[in-house]
Amino acid sequence: MTPEHEARETTYVDAIREAIFEEMERDERVFVLGEDIGVYGGAFKVTDGLLAKFGEHRVMDTPLSEAAIVGAAVGSAMMGMRPIAEMQFADFISCAFDMITNYAAKSRYRTGVGVPLVVRGPSGGGVHGGPFHSQNPEAYFAHTPGLKIVQPSTAYDAKGLLKAAIRDDDPVIFFEHKFLYRRVKETLPPGDWVVPIGKAAVRREGRDLSILTYGAMVWTALDAAKTLEAEGIDAEVVDLRTLFPLDEEAILASVGKTNKAIVLHEATRTGGIGAEVAAVIAERCFESLDAPLVRVTAPDTPVPFSPPLEEFFLPNADKVCRAARALAGY
C-alpha cells in the first residue's frame, strides 16, 4: 500500500482486499481459503494479488466444498489460527450451514473453545444473478446464538468492520453486497483502524421519520431521503452495520426522536432482520411511536431472474418514498 494508493479513492471491493491484506501482514495466524481465491483471485477479485504476496499456504484454493472450507476453518481456528473463509456467493453458504450454525456457533458454549473465524462472501441482488446468486441469507444466521452478523454499506465500513471481524474472538458472518463492490468508493484514512462490531451509524439526520436499514439499501434510503426532503419530509437514515448484535440504543435513539419508523431491507420479508428491529421498537419504545411501523422489504418469493421481475422484487427509493409519505401523513 503506497501513499499514492491511500490518497486515491478506494472502492468497496478494494477496501475488503486491503483489510485482508493488512490483517495478514499484521498477524501471521490470519489466512484465507475458498474456491478460486488464489490463482484466479476470486470470482469478484476480492483476493486478487494475495497469493503472490502471501503464498499458497496462506491463500488456499480449495475443492468445491463449502462444508469442508468452513469445517477446516473451524478446526484451524480451534488450533489458534484466524481463518477467513470465502463463499464464492453468499447463496452457497447454505452448503456450509451445519458447520456454521452447529459447529462454529455452539463451540464456545459447549466446550469453552472459541472459533475466531470469518465467513465472508457476496450477497444481494440487482445484478440479474437469479435465484441462486442474489440471495440475502443474513436472517438464517441472526437466529443462531454464537454468531455475529455484519453487513457494511461503505468502503470505510467494509474495511473497518472486516478488520474488526478478523480480530473478533467469535465467529463472524460478513456479507458484502456485490452491487456495491465497484459502485461505492471513498478516500480512506491511512493507518490502522477498525469499525467496532455492534455499532450503528446515522447516515443522515432527520426529524420526521427514521429509516432503519443496512447494506446496499442504505444508499436506496439516502436516495429516497433526498426526494423526500424536496417534499418537506425530513428522513433520518440509520445504517445498522451489524445485524447481530443489533445496536438497540441507536435504534431507540432515532425512533425516540422521530417517532416514526421504516425498516428497510433487501432480504425477503417474513422472519427478516426487520421483524427483529420491529420487535425491539415494540418492546422498548412502544410509547414513542406516533404511527405503525412500516417494513419495506422484498416480497416472500425467491429472487427472480428476468430484469422486470427482479426490479419489481427489489425495494427501491420509490417504494421507500411511498411508505414515508404514508407515514408522514399518518
Binding site: P63, A67, I69, M79, R110, V113, D168, D169
Partner: protein
C-alpha cells in the same frame, strides 16, 4: 505386528475393561433415572476405540463419536468426567452444556463431536491443517460410523484432507447398524475401506474386535500421517451389540447375528490372548476389581456433586457478554 511391552498390553486391557465397566455402571444409573437423557453403548466395540487411540502420542488430537468412550479414556479423561457428563453435573467437562461424550478441547487432546454425523471429519481436517500451519507436528484422528459415511460432510472432509495431504486418520467403524438401518441399506459398496480409493488415500479393513490388529493398523496409519504421507481410512469391522441407545430394544437385529458376534466379544477375546501369552490370571482379576471399585466410588462422588447454577445457561455464548433472558418492560414517563 507392532511390538507392545507387556505393561502396554495390560494397559490396553485396562482401558477396554474400564470402558465396559463404566458403561455397565451407566446402564445401572440410567435405570435408576440418574442419567440425564439417552445412553449410547459401545458394547462390543471397545477394541476399536481403545486400539486406535492407543496408537496416538502425546500432543495428538482425537475427535471421538458417542460410541468411542474407549478413545476418550485413552486420551486421559477419567471415569468421573464421563459420569459427570452423563449426569449433567457442574463438574462435567462441558459444565452441563452438552451431553455424553460431547466435550473436549484441543489442548486436552480431544475435540468435541456434534450430533450431525460427518461434521467432525472436515473439522478434524482443520485441526490437522491448523497444526501444520503452526509447524506443530501432530496427528489428528477421528471416527465415523457406517451411517456417517453416507453424509456429504464425510466426503468433503475426506476429500479435503487427501488433497491437502493432511495428517488425519479416519476410523470408519462399521458396526453393521445406523440406528435401525443395516449396512446394505447404507451403501452399495462392498466395504467402507473401498471408499478410500475415491479419495486417493490408503484404505484398509481390520477386524475391529481384535484390539492388537486394530492397534497395528492404527499405528501404521498414524506413522504415515506423521511422516507426511497424508490421511488413511481404516474400516474397523465390528458389531453394535446393543440398540442405538438404551431405549432401543433392537428388535430389528437378527438374533443369530448377535450370538455370532457375542462369541467374538473383544474383551473376552483379548483376555484369552493375554492368558495364552502367559499373563497371570490374577493380574486381570486385579485390574477388574480395581476398576469396579473405582467406578463405584466415582459414581457416588458424582451423584453427590451439584448440578450447574441455572443462570450459567446464559453465559459463554460469546467471548464477552451474557445472552438476554427477557426484556425489561420500560414505561417512559413524560
Amino acid at each position: 505386528m507392532a511390538e507392545l511391552a507387556p505393561e502396554q498390553k495390560l494397559e490396553l486391557y485396562r482401558f477396554m475393561r474400564l470402558n465396559r465397566t463404566l458403561e455397565e455402571k451407566l446402564v445401572n444409573l440410567y435405570r435408576q433415572g440418574k442419567v440425564v437423557g439417552g445412553l449410547y453403548r459401545s458394547l462390543g466395540q471397545e477394541a476399536t476405540s481403545v486400539g486406535t487411540a492407543y496408537a496416538l502420542s502425546k500432543g495428538d488430537i482425537v475427535g471421538p463419536l458417542i460410541r468411542n468412550m474407549g478413545s476418550v479414556l485413552v486420551m486421559g479423561f477419567t471415569a468421573r468426567d464421563i459420569l459427570a457428563q452423563h449426569m449433567a453435573r457442574a463438574s462435567s467437562p462441558s459444565a452441563g452444556k452438552d451431553c455424553n461424550l460431547h466435550f473436549g478441547t484441543p489442548d486436552t487432546g480431544m475435540v468435541s463431536a456434534i450430533a450431525m454425523l460427518g461434521a467432525l471429519v472436515p473439522v478434524m481436517a482443520g485441526i490437522a491443517l491448523g497444526a501444520r500451519m503452526q509447524k506443530k507436528s501432530l496427528v489428528a484422528m477421528t471416527y465415523i460410523g457406517d451411517g456417517g459415511t453416507s453424509t456429504g460432510a464425510f466426503h468433503e472432509g475426506a476429500n479435503f484432507a487427501a488433497v491437502q495431504k493432511l495428517p488425519l486418520v479416519i476410523v470408519a467403524e462399521n458396526n453393521g447398524w445406523a440406528y435401525s438401518t443395516p449396512f446394505r441399506r447404507q451403501t452399495a459398496a462392498r466395504s467402507l475401506a473401498d471408499r478410500a480409493v475415491a479419495y486417493g488415500m490408503p484404505g484398509e479393513t481390520v477386524d475391529g474386535n481384535d484390539v492388537l490388529a486394530v492397534f497395528d493398523a492404527a499405528r501404521r496409519a498414524v506413522e504415515r500421517a506423521r511422516t507426511g504421507g497424508g490421511p488413511t481410512l481404516i474400516e474397523a469391522k465390528t458389531y453394535r451389540m446393543k440398540g442405538h441407545a438404551e431405549h432401543d430394544g433392537q428388535s430389528y437385529v437378527p438374533g443369530e447375528e448377535l450370538s455370532e458376534w457375542a462369541a467374538r466379544d473383544p474383551l473376552e477375546r483379548y483376555a484369552r490372548v493375554l492368558l495364552a501369552e502367559g499373563t497371570d490370571p490374577s493380574r486381570l482379576h486385579d485390574i477388574d476389581a480395581e476398576i469396579a471399585a473405582r467406578v463405584e466410588s466415582d459414581a457416588r462422588a458424582v451423584e453427590q456433586s451439584p448440578f450447574p447454577a441455572p443462570e450459567s445457561a446464559v453465559r459463554g455464548v460469546y467471548a464477552e457478554g451474557v445472552a438476554e433472558v427477557e426484556p425489561a418492560i420500560v414505561r417512559r414517563r413524560w
